[in-house]
């Protein structure tokens, strides 16, 4: 017992000396590096030279298709930040964990990152199911998660920063555009059968019926992985909707568009608006099968601005010439930059201080243009409409103003 106390005393003393010595230490950029004891009061994995963060996505399993892009974007952002001198004079070290497309594994790995590794922040998750699985862990262990996917909303947590759009940002402006530009009167809503498409279509239906005073002629859900859509396509042919509003995901997505094309439902005869087909998905679907259809997202790889040109160039230099960048990949890229800005504003790595400092953070260097963190931890962002091209890219044909995130929209639930 006595021995233990003595050891602890020595440790504290050593720490204090190190802290004193540090106040004189300079970062590569020449600015003074604040002592570790000052920027880390909660026992995070922060040393004088290094800060550790976690990266938690599915490298294996079904979801690897989608999450690979996010891992690449986060890695790139962190490498760029390190090349600029890191955060508060400390280089960022990444611990990668594989959620393996399995939600309990996500929860377990997040616990490992927060409890054993004491990471200062985690960039990760893709599906809502994985986010819901890790949320209690992040709230209990007081971690900080940057979540990149556009999602259904209805959630807000002190411990999560949502860098993708919530449903109203992605849906309302897109529907307004299609009504104005295409004079649409009737809609057919289609989705894969799980929470995101169902919640999104619920919001879409309320907007179409209550706000726009137009008509929904059909609303249908198909099991994940469903591969035969011929009966559905016949029903669409009977109802003749002005717009097909599609939120089909995964392997079903490819089958859906290939079969639409084969049944003669192409963009010259039918308007289709989707919120689930990014450039990543077109790789699998094939550009010729979606050419002419519209997507509503906040980011397209073809966006014409200087930030984006630099980003696309850096991404291809790092991950190969053939790499494509979808909406979520860009949102994942924002995570580390938003965290860096918040840490510097707070002058600390402590989760409470970083979370408190986050609202109001602006990012003028974002590839999508400009984003700002809202009080509710979502981002102010724009919505774009892109028209799919044969080469697998989107042509941006419309851009909204800056949209306020509203994860709990009144009148839409």
């Amino acid at each position: 017992m006595h021995d233990h106390n003595r050891r602890q005393f020595l440790k504290t003393a050593a720490g204090a000396t190190a802290a004193l010595a540090l106040s004189a230490h300079l970062s590569p950029a020449g600015a003074a590096v604040p002592p570790t004891a000052q920027v880390n009061t909660t026992g995070l994995a922060v040393t004088d030279a290094e800060v550790t963060v976690g990266d938690l996505h599915s490298k294996t399993g079904t979801m690897a298709i989608s999450e690979t892009g996010s891992i690449q974007a986060e890695t790139l952002a962190i490498e760029q930040i390190n090349a600029m001198g890191g955060v508060l004079g400390r280089k960022i070290k990444i611990i990668y964990e594989d959620g393996a497309s399995d939600w309990p594994t996500f929860a377990e790995k997040s616990k490992k990152l927060l409890v054993n590794d004491k990471v200062a922040a985690v960039f990760g998750c893709w599906t809502s199911a994985s986010r819901k699985a890790v949320l209690p862990v992040f709230e209990k262990e007081n971690g900080l998660l940057y979540y990149p996917t556009f999602y259904e909303g209805l959630e807000q947590s002190k411990n999560v920063i949502y860098t993708g759009q919530e449903a109203t940002q992605q849906i309302l402006a897109g529907l307004d555009w299609v009504v104005k530009e295409k004079k649409a009167k009737t809609f057919y809503l289609i989705g894969s059968d799980y929470i995101w498409p169902r919640t999104s279509n619920k919001i879409a239906r309320k907007h179409i019926e209550n706000v726009l005073k137009l008509q929904v002629v059909g609303e249908e859900y198909y099991p994940l992985g469903h591969t035969s859509f011929n009966s559905l396509i016949n029903k669409i042919k009977i109802k003749k909707p002005d717009v097909i509003y599609a939120i089909v995901v995964g392997g079903s997505n490819v089958a859906f568009y290939k079969q639409l094309k084969a049944a003669g439902v192409t963009s010259d005869k039918q308007t289709l608006l989707t919120i689930s087909v990014t450039e990543d998905e077109i790789l699998g679907i094939g550009g010729e099968n979606v050419a002419g259809f519209y997507a509503a997202m906040k980011y397209f790889q073809s966006l014409d601005n200087d930030n984006n040109k630099k980003f696309v160039e850096a991404f291809k230099a790092r991950w190969g010439k053939t790499a494509v960048i979808g909406d979520v990949t860009q949102a994942a890229y924002l995570g580390p930059w938003l965290w860096k800005a918040a840490v510097e504003k707070a002058g600390s790595f402590d989760v409470n201080k970083v979370a408190a400092a986050s609202p109001g953070i602006e990012l003028k260097t974002a590839p999508e243009g400009y984003v700002k963190v809202h009080e509710n931890h979502h981002l102010w962002s724009k919505l774009r409409i892109g028209q799919a091209q044969k080469d697998g890219q989107y042509k941006v044909i419309h851009e909204s103003g800056l949209l306020e995130p509203d994860p709990f929209p009144k009148g839409y639930q």
């Binding site: 690897a64 198909y222 992985g225 469903h226 035969s228 009966s231 392997g251 094309k261 003669g264 699998g284």
Partner: protein, 304 residues
């Protein structure tokens, strides 16, 4: 709606049912041979289909890049390639893994499931985690229009034609060839076949490999209607097992009848209700019939 439009919808809906029938039959044929004739629960069936899909991807993209003149026909050659590669992979899997587990069905189930996970990761490491799209030749895209109101998808016709061809070949081989005779003898009575001088081990290996090869052809054909990715095969595995089990494991006729029944139930119910409910109804029908006839639609005539 005009009468001609209604007629068109009815015709297209009829085709949708037949199209689904041929998809189910094609995916289940390979499994029917392996599971039905050999009793091996091959959980990696979907991954052998994926081998076929990736073969198409490699063949067609290579052809499109290096031999553009040959590109429109590369698809047909690639299907043969898919059979050969899946056949070889199946042969190897039988030799290394399956043959040690013939008398332990539950262990085979676990082993082939492990095999499927391993194969998925191999696809992922080789071709990347993201889905790819093979170059589908122009002549396979779009639809034929017998009248103004009817669109018959060409890829559906193609899958249908291929299914007829493969099914007929399997039947010919099973009932007219030496191999077929030996397979049927082995299924009927292994001991007796051994005693009569049939090398049943060789028969097993060949049967397994042919089943896998047919899975490869199915996977190749489905690139025209579905996705090509590391886990694409898992989209089909449940339906394939459903079709074979419902039909009665050891009967090829049963597989055909069950594919037809499931396809019609599903496509008709999908037309009148939403997709998820149609699936529920189809499964309910299958489960109810299996409760009354646990041996499936067509019971095997094998003496147990």
């Amino acid at each position: 709606m005009s009468p001609s439009e209604i007629g068109g919808i009815i015709a297209m809906q009829g085709f949708a049912g037949l199209s689904l029938f041929s998809v189910l039959l094609l995916m289940a044929l390979g499994l029917a041979i392996i599971f039905g004739q050999m009793g091996v629960i091959n959980m990696a069936h979907g991954e052998f289909m994926t081998i076929g899909a990736y073969t198409i991807y490699v063949f067609t993209t290579t052809a499109a890049t290096y031999f553009p003149a040959f590109a429109p026909y590369s698809f047909l050659v690639a299907i043969l390639g898919a059979f050969c590669i899946a056949f070889a992979a199946g042969y190897l899997a039988e030799y290394l893994l399956i043959r040690h587990l013939y008398r332990r069905p539950l262990d085979t189930l676990l082993a082939t499931w492990g095999l499927s996970l391993g194969m998925q990761q191999i696809f992922r490491s080789t071709f990347g985690a993201k889905e790819v799209s093979p170059v589908i030749p122009e002549w396979l895209l779009g639809s034929v229009k017998p009248t103004e109101a009817i669109d018959i998808p060409i890829n559906g016709l193609f899958v249908m034609g291929l299914t007829v061809l493969v099914t007929a070949t399997v039947f010919l081989m099973l009932f007219k060839s030496r191999w077929g005779l030996r397979v049927r003898a082995t299924v009927a009575n292994r001991m007796m076949s051994n005693a009569a001088g049939i090398n049943t081990k060789k028969v097993d290996r060949l049967t397994f490999a042919i089943g896998c090869g047919i899975a490869g052809v199915a996977g190749a054909a489905f690139t025209t209607i579905g996705s090509t990715g590391p886990t694409s095969g898992s989209l089909y595995i449940v339906d394939a097992f459903l079709t074979v089990t419902f039909g009665g494991a050891a009967s090829l006729f049963g597989t055909i009848a069950s594919a037809f029944g499931i396809a019609q139930t599903q496509s008709i119910s999908e037309f009148f209700m939403t997709g998820s409910m149609a699936k529920v109804l189809t499964l309910l029908v299958v489960v109810t019939i299996l409760m009354m006839r646990p041996q499936g639609l067509f019971a095997s005539k094998v003496r147990r």
